[in-house]
Protein backbone atom coordinates (compact mmCIF):
# COMPACT_ATOMS: atom_id res chain seq x y z
CA UNK A 1 0.00 0.00 0.00
CA UNK A 2 1.22 3.49 -0.76
CA UNK A 3 2.11 5.88 2.03
CA UNK A 4 0.86 8.78 0.01
CA UNK A 5 -1.38 8.32 -2.95
CA UNK A 6 -2.69 11.29 -4.89
CA UNK A 7 -5.29 10.73 -7.58
CA UNK A 8 -6.76 13.34 -9.88
CA UNK A 9 -5.97 16.10 -7.44
CA UNK A 10 -7.18 19.50 -8.60
CA UNK A 11 -6.62 22.69 -6.63
CA UNK A 12 -8.20 26.04 -7.39
CA UNK A 13 -8.37 29.50 -5.87
CA UNK A 14 -11.75 31.01 -6.71
CA UNK A 15 -12.03 29.94 -10.37
CA UNK A 16 -8.35 29.92 -11.20
CA UNK A 17 -6.99 26.38 -11.50
CA UNK A 18 -3.64 25.96 -9.72
CA UNK A 19 -3.15 22.21 -9.99
CA UNK A 20 -5.05 20.03 -12.45
CA UNK A 21 -5.71 16.31 -12.25
CA UNK A 22 -2.39 15.44 -10.66
CA UNK A 23 -1.72 11.80 -9.75
CA UNK A 24 1.28 10.13 -8.15
CA UNK A 25 2.02 7.73 -5.32
CA UNK A 26 4.86 7.16 -2.90
CA UNK A 27 5.49 3.69 -1.48
CA UNK A 28 7.21 3.17 1.89
CA UNK A 29 10.93 3.93 1.54
CA UNK A 30 10.53 5.40 -1.91
CA UNK A 31 12.06 8.76 -2.83
CA UNK A 32 10.18 10.99 -5.23
CA UNK A 33 11.07 14.44 -6.53
CA UNK A 34 8.46 17.00 -7.49
CA UNK A 35 10.05 19.56 -9.76
CA UNK A 36 8.94 22.64 -11.62
CA UNK A 37 9.45 26.37 -11.62
CA UNK A 38 8.00 28.84 -9.09
CA UNK A 39 4.21 28.88 -9.14
CA UNK A 40 3.90 25.46 -10.72
CA UNK A 41 1.92 24.17 -7.73
CA UNK A 42 4.63 22.07 -6.05
CA UNK A 43 4.29 23.47 -2.55
CA UNK A 44 0.50 23.56 -2.71
CA UNK A 45 0.50 19.87 -3.63
CA UNK A 46 2.68 19.18 -0.58
CA UNK A 47 0.34 21.12 1.69
CA UNK A 48 -2.66 19.32 0.17
CA UNK A 49 -0.99 16.03 1.07
CA UNK A 50 -1.51 16.80 4.78
CA UNK A 51 -4.70 18.82 4.42
CA UNK A 52 -3.09 22.15 5.27
CA UNK A 53 -4.28 24.21 2.34
CA UNK A 54 -5.18 27.87 2.85
CA UNK A 55 -8.93 28.34 3.28
CA UNK A 56 -9.33 30.12 -0.04
CA UNK A 57 -8.12 27.08 -1.99
CA UNK A 58 -10.52 24.29 -2.83
CA UNK A 59 -9.36 20.74 -3.49
CA UNK A 60 -11.01 17.94 -5.40
CA UNK A 61 -9.92 14.42 -6.23
CA UNK A 62 -8.35 12.06 -3.77
CA UNK A 63 -5.39 12.34 -1.40
CA UNK A 64 -4.74 9.34 0.82
CA UNK A 65 -2.06 9.69 3.48
CA UNK A 66 -1.30 6.49 5.38
CA UNK A 67 -4.54 5.06 3.99
CA UNK A 68 -6.67 7.94 5.31
CA UNK A 69 -8.57 10.20 2.93
CA UNK A 70 -7.27 13.74 3.56
CA UNK A 71 -9.63 15.84 1.46
CA UNK A 72 -12.65 16.76 3.54
CA UNK A 73 -11.29 15.08 6.68
CA UNK A 74 -11.61 16.82 10.06
CA UNK A 75 -8.53 18.45 11.63
CA UNK A 76 -8.88 16.12 14.60
CA UNK A 77 -8.33 13.13 12.33
CA UNK A 78 -5.52 14.78 10.38
CA UNK A 79 -3.67 15.90 13.52
CA UNK A 80 -3.16 12.20 14.20
CA UNK A 81 -1.50 11.70 10.80
CA UNK A 82 0.61 14.86 10.82
CA UNK A 83 3.87 14.13 12.53
CA UNK A 84 3.08 10.40 12.58
CA UNK A 85 2.88 9.49 8.93
CA UNK A 86 4.45 12.66 7.55
CA UNK A 87 6.73 15.47 8.67
CA UNK A 88 7.89 18.60 6.87
CA UNK A 89 11.09 20.52 6.32
CA UNK A 90 10.51 23.96 4.84
CA UNK A 91 12.45 26.30 2.61
CA UNK A 92 13.11 29.24 4.91
CA UNK A 93 14.49 27.99 8.24
CA UNK A 94 14.34 31.38 9.94
CA UNK A 95 10.59 31.83 9.56
CA UNK A 96 9.87 28.13 10.10
CA UNK A 97 11.10 28.37 13.69
CA UNK A 98 9.20 30.21 16.42
CA UNK A 99 11.30 33.35 17.07
CA UNK A 100 10.42 33.50 20.78
CA UNK A 101 11.02 29.86 21.68
CA UNK A 102 14.39 28.40 22.51
CA UNK A 103 15.58 25.83 19.99
CA UNK A 104 15.65 23.01 22.53
CA UNK A 105 11.99 23.51 23.40
CA UNK A 106 10.99 23.63 19.75
CA UNK A 107 12.61 20.25 19.14
CA UNK A 108 11.14 18.92 22.38
CA UNK A 109 7.55 19.69 21.28
CA UNK A 110 7.20 17.12 18.47
CA UNK A 111 9.53 14.75 20.34
CA UNK A 112 7.26 14.67 23.37
CA UNK A 113 4.20 14.13 21.19
CA UNK A 114 5.89 11.20 19.49
CA UNK A 115 7.16 9.53 22.66
CA UNK A 116 3.71 9.89 24.21
CA UNK A 117 2.30 8.23 21.10
CA UNK A 118 4.80 5.41 21.62
CA UNK A 119 3.53 5.02 25.16
CA UNK A 120 6.41 6.50 27.15
CA UNK A 121 5.92 9.96 28.57
CA UNK A 122 9.28 11.70 28.82
CA UNK A 123 9.82 14.35 31.47
CA UNK A 124 12.27 17.25 31.72
CA UNK A 125 15.73 15.66 31.89
CA UNK A 126 15.07 12.55 29.81
CA UNK A 127 13.35 14.71 27.18
CA UNK A 128 16.29 17.11 27.03
CA UNK A 129 18.74 14.22 26.68
CA UNK A 130 16.83 13.01 23.62
CA UNK A 131 16.71 16.55 22.24
CA UNK A 132 20.49 16.72 22.52
CA UNK A 133 20.79 13.32 20.85
CA UNK A 134 18.67 14.57 17.96
CA UNK A 135 20.74 17.73 17.62
CA UNK A 136 23.85 15.55 17.45
CA UNK A 137 22.28 13.37 14.78
CA UNK A 138 21.86 16.40 12.53
CA UNK A 139 25.54 17.20 13.15
CA UNK A 140 25.04 20.37 15.17
CA UNK A 141 28.10 21.37 17.17
CA UNK A 142 27.68 22.14 20.90
CA UNK A 143 24.10 20.86 21.22
CA UNK A 144 23.96 22.34 24.73
CA UNK A 145 24.51 25.84 23.47
CA UNK A 146 22.25 25.42 20.43
CA UNK A 147 19.41 24.07 22.58
CA UNK A 148 19.57 27.16 24.76
CA UNK A 149 19.69 29.57 21.79
CA UNK A 150 16.88 31.42 20.11
CA UNK A 151 16.58 30.92 16.33
CA UNK A 152 18.02 34.37 15.58
CA UNK A 153 21.15 33.49 17.52
CA UNK A 154 22.26 30.64 15.24
CA UNK A 155 23.21 30.53 11.55
CA UNK A 156 20.95 29.70 8.60
CA UNK A 157 22.50 26.28 8.07
CA UNK A 158 22.20 25.51 11.78
CA UNK A 159 18.56 26.59 11.73
CA UNK A 160 17.82 24.21 8.85
CA UNK A 161 19.52 21.41 10.81
CA UNK A 162 17.26 22.25 13.75
CA UNK A 163 14.23 22.09 11.44
CA UNK A 164 15.39 18.67 10.23
CA UNK A 165 15.86 17.54 13.83
CA UNK A 166 12.25 18.62 14.52
CA UNK A 167 11.03 16.55 11.58
CA UNK A 168 13.14 13.56 12.70
CA UNK A 169 11.74 13.90 16.21
CA UNK A 170 8.39 12.87 14.74
CA UNK A 171 9.98 9.69 13.33
CA UNK A 172 7.73 9.94 10.26
CA UNK A 173 7.29 7.33 7.57
CA UNK A 174 7.32 10.06 4.95
CA UNK A 175 9.49 13.17 5.01
CA UNK A 176 8.24 16.05 2.88
CA UNK A 177 11.06 18.48 2.10
CA UNK A 178 9.86 21.67 0.41
CA UNK A 179 12.88 23.36 -1.20
CA UNK A 180 14.94 22.61 1.92
CA UNK A 181 18.19 23.95 0.49
CA UNK A 182 16.98 26.91 -1.57
CA UNK A 183 17.48 29.56 1.12
CA UNK A 184 21.02 28.40 1.91
CA UNK A 185 24.36 29.24 0.36
CA UNK A 186 25.91 26.66 -1.96
CA UNK A 187 28.34 25.00 0.46
CA UNK A 188 25.74 24.77 3.21
CA UNK A 189 23.31 23.46 0.59
CA UNK A 190 25.59 20.54 -0.20
CA UNK A 191 26.03 19.72 3.49
CA UNK A 192 22.31 19.81 4.25
CA UNK A 193 21.55 17.70 1.19
CA UNK A 194 24.10 15.09 2.25
CA UNK A 195 22.68 15.06 5.77
CA UNK A 196 19.11 14.71 4.53
CA UNK A 197 20.06 11.98 2.07
CA UNK A 198 21.95 10.03 4.73
CA UNK A 199 19.19 10.29 7.31
CA UNK A 200 16.48 9.23 4.87
CA UNK A 201 18.49 6.18 3.73
CA UNK A 202 19.52 5.26 7.27
CA UNK A 203 15.95 5.25 8.55
CA UNK A 204 14.26 3.91 5.45
CA UNK A 205 11.94 6.91 5.32
CA UNK A 206 10.05 7.75 2.19
CA UNK A 207 10.88 11.18 0.80
CA UNK A 208 8.90 13.71 -1.17
CA UNK A 209 11.49 16.21 -2.30
CA UNK A 210 10.26 19.44 -3.80
CA UNK A 211 12.64 21.64 -5.74
CA UNK A 212 13.18 23.71 -8.86
CA UNK A 213 16.84 22.73 -8.84
CA UNK A 214 17.42 19.72 -11.12
CA UNK A 215 20.91 18.69 -9.98
CA UNK A 216 19.78 18.84 -6.35
CA UNK A 217 16.76 16.67 -7.07
CA UNK A 218 18.80 14.18 -9.10
CA UNK A 219 21.10 13.67 -6.14
CA UNK A 220 18.49 12.51 -3.64
CA UNK A 221 15.54 10.90 -5.42
CA UNK A 222 14.83 7.85 -7.57
CA UNK A 223 11.82 9.09 -9.46
CA UNK A 224 10.57 12.54 -10.50
CA UNK A 225 7.32 14.20 -11.45
CA UNK A 226 7.69 17.35 -13.54
CA UNK A 227 5.01 19.97 -12.90
CA UNK A 228 4.25 22.84 -15.23
CA UNK A 229 1.49 25.27 -14.30
CA UNK A 230 -0.14 22.63 -12.15
CA UNK A 231 -0.06 19.88 -14.75
CA UNK A 232 2.25 16.85 -14.58
CA UNK A 233 4.02 16.88 -17.94
CA UNK A 234 6.41 14.01 -17.35
CA UNK A 235 7.08 11.29 -14.81
CA UNK A 236 9.64 8.52 -14.47
CA UNK A 237 13.01 7.44 -13.06
CA UNK A 238 15.52 10.28 -12.68
CA UNK A 239 18.02 8.97 -15.24
CA UNK A 240 15.31 8.52 -17.85
CA UNK A 241 13.59 11.85 -17.40
CA UNK A 242 16.77 13.92 -17.18
CA UNK A 243 18.73 11.79 -19.67
CA UNK A 244 16.13 11.76 -22.40
CA UNK A 245 13.37 14.24 -21.58
CA UNK A 246 10.28 13.65 -23.69
CA UNK A 247 8.38 16.82 -22.89
CA UNK A 248 9.34 20.20 -24.28
CA UNK A 249 9.18 21.82 -20.83
CA UNK A 250 11.42 19.19 -19.22
CA UNK A 251 13.87 19.62 -22.07
CA UNK A 252 14.02 23.36 -21.46
CA UNK A 253 14.61 22.77 -17.72
CA UNK A 254 17.42 20.31 -18.45
CA UNK A 255 18.91 22.62 -21.04
CA UNK A 256 18.83 25.51 -18.61
CA UNK A 257 20.61 23.41 -15.95
CA UNK A 258 23.22 22.31 -18.54
CA UNK A 259 23.80 25.88 -19.68
CA UNK A 260 24.32 26.89 -16.06
CA UNK A 261 26.85 24.11 -15.49
CA UNK A 262 28.64 24.99 -18.69
CA UNK A 263 28.82 28.64 -17.67
CA UNK A 264 30.32 27.61 -14.33
CA UNK A 265 32.97 25.49 -16.02
CA UNK A 266 33.76 28.24 -18.50
CA UNK A 267 32.98 26.22 -21.64
CA UNK A 268 30.58 27.64 -24.20
Amino acid sequence: MSLLSIENLSLAAADIPLVSRLSFAIAPGERLGLIGESGSGKSLTAMAATGLLPRAITASGSVRLGGQQVIGAADRVLDGLRGTVSAFVFQEPLTALDPLMRVGRQVAEPLRRRTRRDGRDLDGDALMREVHALLEQVALPQPDRIARSYPHEISGGQRQRVAIAMALACRPQLLIADEPTTALDVTTQAEILKLLDGLVRERGMALLFISHDLPVVAEVVDRVVVLKKGIAVEEGPVAEVFGAPKDEYTRSLVAAARAFDAALEGTP
Partner: protein, 282 residues
Protein backbone atom coordinates in the same frame (compact mmCIF):
# COMPACT_ATOMS: atom_id res chain seq x y z
CA UNK B 1 29.19 31.23 15.48
CA UNK B 2 28.64 34.78 14.38
CA UNK B 3 29.26 38.10 15.99
CA UNK B 4 25.58 38.16 16.90
CA UNK B 5 26.11 35.21 19.19
CA UNK B 6 28.48 37.19 21.33
CA UNK B 7 26.00 40.04 21.66
CA UNK B 8 22.70 38.30 22.07
CA UNK B 9 22.48 35.96 25.04
CA UNK B 10 22.13 37.17 28.58
CA UNK B 11 22.50 40.80 27.73
CA UNK B 12 20.50 42.79 30.25
CA UNK B 13 20.00 46.36 29.33
CA UNK B 14 17.87 47.90 32.05
CA UNK B 15 16.69 51.03 30.41
CA UNK B 16 16.03 54.30 32.17
CA UNK B 17 12.30 54.09 31.48
CA UNK B 18 12.18 50.72 33.20
CA UNK B 19 13.77 52.14 36.33
CA UNK B 20 11.63 55.27 36.50
CA UNK B 21 8.53 53.15 35.87
CA UNK B 22 9.57 50.67 38.52
CA UNK B 23 10.12 53.42 41.09
CA UNK B 24 6.82 55.23 40.37
CA UNK B 25 4.70 52.06 40.34
CA UNK B 26 6.61 50.62 43.31
CA UNK B 27 5.90 53.79 45.28
CA UNK B 28 2.18 53.55 44.58
CA UNK B 29 2.07 49.85 45.42
CA UNK B 30 3.99 50.48 48.66
CA UNK B 31 1.69 53.33 49.65
CA UNK B 32 -1.40 51.27 48.79
CA UNK B 33 -0.16 48.34 50.88
CA UNK B 34 0.81 50.63 53.72
CA UNK B 35 -2.66 52.20 53.70
CA UNK B 36 -4.09 48.78 54.57
CA UNK B 37 -2.34 48.78 57.94
CA UNK B 38 -1.46 52.39 58.63
CA UNK B 39 -2.55 55.85 57.59
CA UNK B 40 -1.50 59.10 59.29
CA UNK B 41 -5.09 59.67 60.43
CA UNK B 42 -8.44 57.90 60.32
CA UNK B 43 -9.61 58.66 56.76
CA UNK B 44 -13.15 59.52 57.88
CA UNK B 45 -12.27 61.43 61.06
CA UNK B 46 -12.02 65.20 61.30
CA UNK B 47 -8.31 65.37 62.02
CA UNK B 48 -7.84 69.10 61.86
CA UNK B 49 -9.37 72.40 60.85
CA UNK B 50 -11.13 72.88 57.50
CA UNK B 51 -9.01 73.45 54.38
CA UNK B 52 -5.73 73.70 56.23
CA UNK B 53 -2.71 74.24 53.95
CA UNK B 54 0.08 71.60 53.85
CA UNK B 55 2.01 71.47 57.12
CA UNK B 56 4.16 69.06 59.13
CA UNK B 57 1.07 67.58 60.80
CA UNK B 58 -1.03 67.43 57.58
CA UNK B 59 1.39 66.83 54.66
CA UNK B 60 -1.18 67.67 52.03
CA UNK B 61 -3.46 69.81 54.16
CA UNK B 62 -7.06 68.99 55.06
CA UNK B 63 -10.27 68.97 53.05
CA UNK B 64 -13.41 71.04 53.65
CA UNK B 65 -14.55 68.62 56.36
CA UNK B 66 -11.19 68.73 58.09
CA UNK B 67 -10.11 65.24 57.04
CA UNK B 68 -6.41 64.62 56.42
CA UNK B 69 -5.83 64.91 52.68
CA UNK B 70 -2.68 62.77 52.50
CA UNK B 71 -4.58 59.89 54.11
CA UNK B 72 -7.24 60.18 51.43
CA UNK B 73 -4.62 60.14 48.66
CA UNK B 74 -3.09 56.99 50.16
CA UNK B 75 -6.46 55.25 50.14
CA UNK B 76 -6.93 56.58 46.60
CA UNK B 77 -3.74 54.77 45.53
CA UNK B 78 -5.26 51.55 46.75
CA UNK B 79 -8.50 52.14 44.88
CA UNK B 80 -6.68 53.17 41.69
CA UNK B 81 -4.56 50.01 41.73
CA UNK B 82 -7.57 47.78 42.40
CA UNK B 83 -9.49 49.45 39.58
CA UNK B 84 -6.57 49.27 37.15
CA UNK B 85 -5.74 45.64 37.83
CA UNK B 86 -9.39 44.57 38.00
CA UNK B 87 -10.46 46.37 34.83
CA UNK B 88 -7.44 45.17 32.83
CA UNK B 89 -7.94 41.59 34.08
CA UNK B 90 -11.59 41.63 32.99
CA UNK B 91 -10.80 43.44 29.74
CA UNK B 92 -7.96 41.03 28.95
CA UNK B 93 -9.97 37.91 29.76
CA UNK B 94 -12.90 38.94 27.57
CA UNK B 95 -10.82 40.71 24.93
CA UNK B 96 -8.14 38.09 24.35
CA UNK B 97 -10.73 35.32 24.18
CA UNK B 98 -12.92 37.21 21.71
CA UNK B 99 -9.97 38.36 19.62
CA UNK B 100 -8.52 34.86 19.44
CA UNK B 101 -11.91 33.43 18.45
CA UNK B 102 -12.22 36.02 15.70
CA UNK B 103 -8.72 35.24 14.42
CA UNK B 104 -9.53 31.53 14.15
CA UNK B 105 -13.17 31.91 13.09
CA UNK B 106 -14.61 31.47 9.64
CA UNK B 107 -14.55 34.52 7.40
CA UNK B 108 -18.19 35.39 8.06
CA UNK B 109 -17.99 35.19 11.86
CA UNK B 110 -14.69 37.07 11.83
CA UNK B 111 -16.15 39.89 9.75
CA UNK B 112 -19.16 40.12 12.05
CA UNK B 113 -16.97 40.24 15.16
CA UNK B 114 -14.61 42.78 13.62
CA UNK B 115 -17.48 45.07 12.63
CA UNK B 116 -19.02 44.82 16.12
CA UNK B 117 -15.68 45.67 17.71
CA UNK B 118 -15.18 48.65 15.41
CA UNK B 119 -18.59 50.00 16.40
CA UNK B 120 -17.84 49.49 20.10
CA UNK B 121 -14.48 51.22 19.77
CA UNK B 122 -16.15 54.20 18.09
CA UNK B 123 -17.86 54.90 21.44
CA UNK B 124 -15.62 56.58 24.01
CA UNK B 125 -14.51 54.16 26.73
CA UNK B 126 -15.97 56.42 29.38
CA UNK B 127 -19.38 56.49 27.68
CA UNK B 128 -19.59 52.69 27.54
CA UNK B 129 -18.51 52.50 31.16
CA UNK B 130 -21.19 55.03 32.13
CA UNK B 131 -23.85 53.00 30.32
CA UNK B 132 -22.80 49.82 32.12
CA UNK B 133 -22.76 51.59 35.50
CA UNK B 134 -26.18 53.08 34.75
CA UNK B 135 -27.48 49.62 33.92
CA UNK B 136 -26.39 48.25 37.30
CA UNK B 137 -28.55 49.18 40.30
CA UNK B 138 -26.12 51.07 42.49
CA UNK B 139 -22.83 52.76 41.85
CA UNK B 140 -20.09 50.76 43.55
CA UNK B 141 -16.42 50.07 43.09
CA UNK B 142 -17.28 46.62 41.69
CA UNK B 143 -19.66 47.94 39.06
CA UNK B 144 -17.15 50.59 38.03
CA UNK B 145 -14.44 47.95 37.57
CA UNK B 146 -16.76 45.69 35.60
CA UNK B 147 -17.90 48.59 33.43
CA UNK B 148 -14.34 49.65 32.65
CA UNK B 149 -13.30 46.06 31.99
CA UNK B 150 -16.09 45.61 29.46
CA UNK B 151 -15.29 48.94 27.84
CA UNK B 152 -11.60 48.03 27.51
CA UNK B 153 -12.27 44.53 26.19
CA UNK B 154 -13.25 45.82 22.73
CA UNK B 155 -9.86 47.44 22.27
CA UNK B 156 -8.03 44.36 23.56
CA UNK B 157 -10.12 42.09 21.34
CA UNK B 158 -9.38 44.06 18.22
CA UNK B 159 -5.66 44.19 18.95
CA UNK B 160 -5.55 40.46 19.77
CA UNK B 161 -7.37 39.63 16.56
CA UNK B 162 -4.96 41.59 14.38
CA UNK B 163 -1.83 40.36 16.17
CA UNK B 164 -2.99 36.74 16.16
CA UNK B 165 -3.86 36.88 12.47
CA UNK B 166 -0.40 38.18 11.72
CA UNK B 167 1.19 35.31 13.65
CA UNK B 168 -1.13 32.68 12.15
CA UNK B 169 0.20 33.22 8.62
CA UNK B 170 3.80 32.68 9.75
CA UNK B 171 5.71 29.65 8.55
CA UNK B 172 6.36 28.36 12.05
CA UNK B 173 2.63 27.97 12.59
CA UNK B 174 2.36 25.89 9.43
CA UNK B 175 5.47 23.99 10.51
CA UNK B 176 3.89 23.26 13.90
CA UNK B 177 0.67 22.17 12.19
CA UNK B 178 2.56 19.78 9.90
CA UNK B 179 4.06 18.05 12.92
CA UNK B 180 0.63 17.50 14.43
CA UNK B 181 0.23 20.40 16.90
CA UNK B 182 -3.47 20.94 17.62
CA UNK B 183 -5.09 24.37 17.33
CA UNK B 184 -5.19 24.65 21.13
CA UNK B 185 -1.46 23.92 21.23
CA UNK B 186 -0.88 26.55 18.54
CA UNK B 187 -2.74 29.17 20.59
CA UNK B 188 -0.93 28.56 23.86
CA UNK B 189 2.54 27.60 22.64
CA UNK B 190 2.98 29.87 19.66
CA UNK B 191 0.34 32.58 19.24
CA UNK B 192 0.04 33.87 22.81
CA UNK B 193 3.80 33.98 23.52
CA UNK B 194 4.39 35.79 20.23
CA UNK B 195 1.70 38.42 20.71
CA UNK B 196 2.37 38.79 24.44
CA UNK B 197 5.10 41.47 24.22
CA UNK B 198 2.76 43.78 22.30
CA UNK B 199 -0.33 42.83 24.29
CA UNK B 200 1.30 43.41 27.66
CA UNK B 201 2.41 46.90 26.69
CA UNK B 202 -1.13 47.55 25.60
CA UNK B 203 -2.43 46.24 28.93
CA UNK B 204 -0.32 48.87 30.64
CA UNK B 205 -1.85 51.56 28.44
CA UNK B 206 -5.27 50.14 29.32
CA UNK B 207 -4.34 50.21 32.98
CA UNK B 208 -3.62 53.93 32.68
CA UNK B 209 -6.82 54.42 30.73
CA UNK B 210 -8.82 52.54 33.37
CA UNK B 211 -7.36 54.58 36.23
CA UNK B 212 -8.17 57.84 34.45
CA UNK B 213 -11.64 56.62 33.45
CA UNK B 214 -12.41 55.55 37.01
CA UNK B 215 -11.36 58.98 38.23
CA UNK B 216 -13.71 60.47 35.64
CA UNK B 217 -16.56 58.18 36.73
CA UNK B 218 -15.98 59.12 40.37
CA UNK B 219 -15.78 62.77 39.40
CA UNK B 220 -19.22 62.37 37.86
CA UNK B 221 -20.47 60.52 40.93
CA UNK B 222 -20.69 57.16 39.12
CA UNK B 223 -17.67 55.54 40.72
CA UNK B 224 -16.97 54.22 44.17
CA UNK B 225 -19.35 56.01 46.55
CA UNK B 226 -18.08 57.91 49.64
CA UNK B 227 -16.31 57.28 51.92
CA UNK B 228 -14.12 55.53 49.33
CA UNK B 229 -11.55 58.19 48.59
CA UNK B 230 -11.13 57.80 44.84
CA UNK B 231 -8.82 60.42 43.32
CA UNK B 232 -11.64 61.42 40.98
CA UNK B 233 -13.92 62.17 43.89
CA UNK B 234 -11.17 64.10 45.66
CA UNK B 235 -10.76 66.21 42.51
CA UNK B 236 -14.47 66.77 42.33
CA UNK B 237 -14.66 67.83 45.97
CA UNK B 238 -11.71 70.17 45.49
CA UNK B 239 -13.39 71.89 42.57
CA UNK B 240 -15.28 74.37 44.71
CA UNK B 241 -12.23 75.38 46.68
CA UNK B 242 -9.61 75.24 43.94
CA UNK B 243 -8.74 78.97 44.31
CA UNK B 244 -8.54 79.03 48.09
CA UNK B 245 -6.93 75.60 48.57
CA UNK B 246 -5.32 74.50 45.27
CA UNK B 247 -3.50 71.61 46.96
CA UNK B 248 -6.81 69.71 46.97
CA UNK B 249 -6.72 69.54 43.17
CA UNK B 250 -2.96 69.39 42.70
CA UNK B 251 -2.23 66.46 45.03
CA UNK B 252 -4.66 63.89 43.55
CA UNK B 253 -3.69 65.14 40.10
CA UNK B 254 -0.02 64.41 40.74
CA UNK B 255 -0.89 61.02 42.22
CA UNK B 256 -2.98 60.11 39.16
CA UNK B 257 -0.46 61.26 36.58
CA UNK B 258 2.53 59.67 38.33
CA UNK B 259 0.81 56.26 38.47
CA UNK B 260 -0.28 56.35 34.82
CA UNK B 261 3.13 57.48 33.57
CA UNK B 262 4.87 54.98 35.82
CA UNK B 263 2.88 52.03 34.48
CA UNK B 264 3.52 53.05 30.88
CA UNK B 265 7.26 53.44 31.40
CA UNK B 266 7.43 50.14 33.25
CA UNK B 267 5.62 48.32 30.44
CA UNK B 268 7.92 49.82 27.84
CA UNK B 269 10.99 48.68 29.75
CA UNK B 270 9.58 45.22 30.42
CA UNK B 271 8.78 44.68 26.75
CA UNK B 272 12.42 45.09 25.82
CA UNK B 273 13.46 42.51 28.38
CA UNK B 274 10.64 40.10 27.58
CA UNK B 275 11.26 39.93 23.85
CA UNK B 276 14.54 38.14 23.06
CA UNK B 277 14.60 39.38 19.48
CA UNK B 278 14.50 42.99 20.64
CA UNK B 279 17.53 42.67 22.86
CA UNK B 280 19.63 42.74 19.74
CA UNK B 281 18.00 45.76 18.23
CA UNK B 282 18.77 47.95 21.18
Amino acid sequence: MTTLDALAPHRRDHSLSLWIGLILVGLHVAVALLSLVWTPYDPTAMAGGRLEPPSLTHWAGTDRLGRDFFTQIMIGSRIALIVGIGAVAIGAAIGVTLGMLAAFASRLLDDALAATLDILIAFPTLLIAMLVVAASDTASLGSAILALGIALSAIVARLTRILAKRVLVMDYITAARTSGTSWIGIVFRHVLPNIWPTLSVNFALQFGLAVIAEASLSYLGLGAPPPNASWGRLLQEAQGTVYTAPIGAVAPGIALVSLVIGVNLLADGLRDIGDPTRRLAR
